[in-house]
Amino acid sequence: MIDPINVQILAAILFGLGIAVVLTRRNIFFTLMGIELLLNAVNLSFVGFSRTFPADAGSITGIVAPLFVIAIAAAEACVGLAMVISLVRGRNTLDTDAYAGMRE
């Protein structure tokens, strides 16, 4: 039997890695992939916690919720990549600092 605390530690490490990728890297694709890594870490945490409850306490929730997260991540990747395509076709660079003017 796997110790649940180890699953949580692994999820926390992957979450920290995702945060580092999103905040550090300047390529647009790395930012998007960092977000996917964050979502994966949270899913792993959900499933790890679902193993610590008995079935009648609703531990199926910890397995159904990641399914919805996966569906929303698919929608997010779809729209995000379409935005990347339309951005890069206009400015022809992948550097996120080139799009800092979008806030004005």
């Binding site: 039997m1 796997i2 649940p4 605390i5 699953v7 949580q8 530690i9 692994l10 490490i13 992957l14 979450f15 920290g16 890695l17 995702g18 945060i19 580092a20 990728v21 905040l23 550090t24 890297r25 300047r26 390529n27 694709f29 790395f30 992939m33 960092g34 996917e36 890594l37 994966n40 899913n43 792993l44 499933v47 193993r51 610590t52 409850f53 008995p54 079935a55 609703g58 531990s59 199926i60 929730t61 397995i63 159904v64 399914l67 996966i70 569906a71 698919a74 990747a77 779809c78 729209v79 990549l81 379409a82 935005m83 990347v84 395509i85 890069v88 076709r89 660079t93 992948l94 550097d95």
Partner: protein
């Protein structure tokens, strides 16, 4: 034996995560991320959630990462050598990520004794998940059915949004067609 597989998958996931952080090209980063996702789906299998592991491989490692690699290749950015890894101020993200990990581990570690694996936990098989998703009444959570339909609407809206975004960028290329809106 289960523990050995768990440590193996954990090692693969963390190493591929570091590879994602330090990769030079987006394609190698995408391959690293696929490695992370495959390792995590293996851990799902070890945690008695086989359906979720299969959905992870199908949707994440299959569909989403295929889309990402496809767009990277369409934009020809695998040859991009000009975008730096990070700027002098964006390296603050590394200690912030490490701090995030440490804070979460410390918070969860405070309740490490209460976190014990329950042998009565539900198996994440397709049967149990389907029963929980599609039953209106009974002891299953009834809110999932409505949520499931709403997720279908969200996916439809995302598809329409992606088509609209791609169409605008195409019509701005064709000069003979009057541009709709300011570009």
């Amino acid at each position: 034996m289960l523990t050995v597989y768990f440590w193996l998958f954990s090692l693969i996931a963390v190493l591929c995560g570091f590879s994602l952080l330090t990769a030079r090209h987006p394609i190698s980063a995408a391959v690293s991320l696929i490695g992370v996702m495959l390792a995590i789906s293996g851990i799902y299998g070890l945690l008695d959630a086989p359906f979720l592991g299969i959905a992870q491989i199908l949707v994440y490692a299959g569909a989403i990462m295929m889309l990402v690699v496809f767009v990277i290749m369409v934009l020809n950015s695998a040859k991009d050598r000009t975008t730096p890894r990070g700027s002098s101020y964006s390296w603050i993200g590394l200690p912030l990520g490490a701090l995030m990990s440490i804070v979460i581990i410390a918070g969860v570690g405070r309740s490490a004794e209460a976190l014990t694996a329950d042998p009565d936990a539900v198996q994440g098989t397709a049967q149990n998940i389907g029963r929980s998703l599609f039953t209106f009444s009974g002891d299953a959570a009834t809110g999932w059915y409505v949520l499931f339909e709403v997720v279908g609407l969200v996916l439809l809206a995302a598809m329409v949004g992606a088509v609209v975004l791609a169409k605008r960028s195409l019509s701005s290329i064709e000069a003979d067609e009057p541009a709709e809106g300011a570009h």
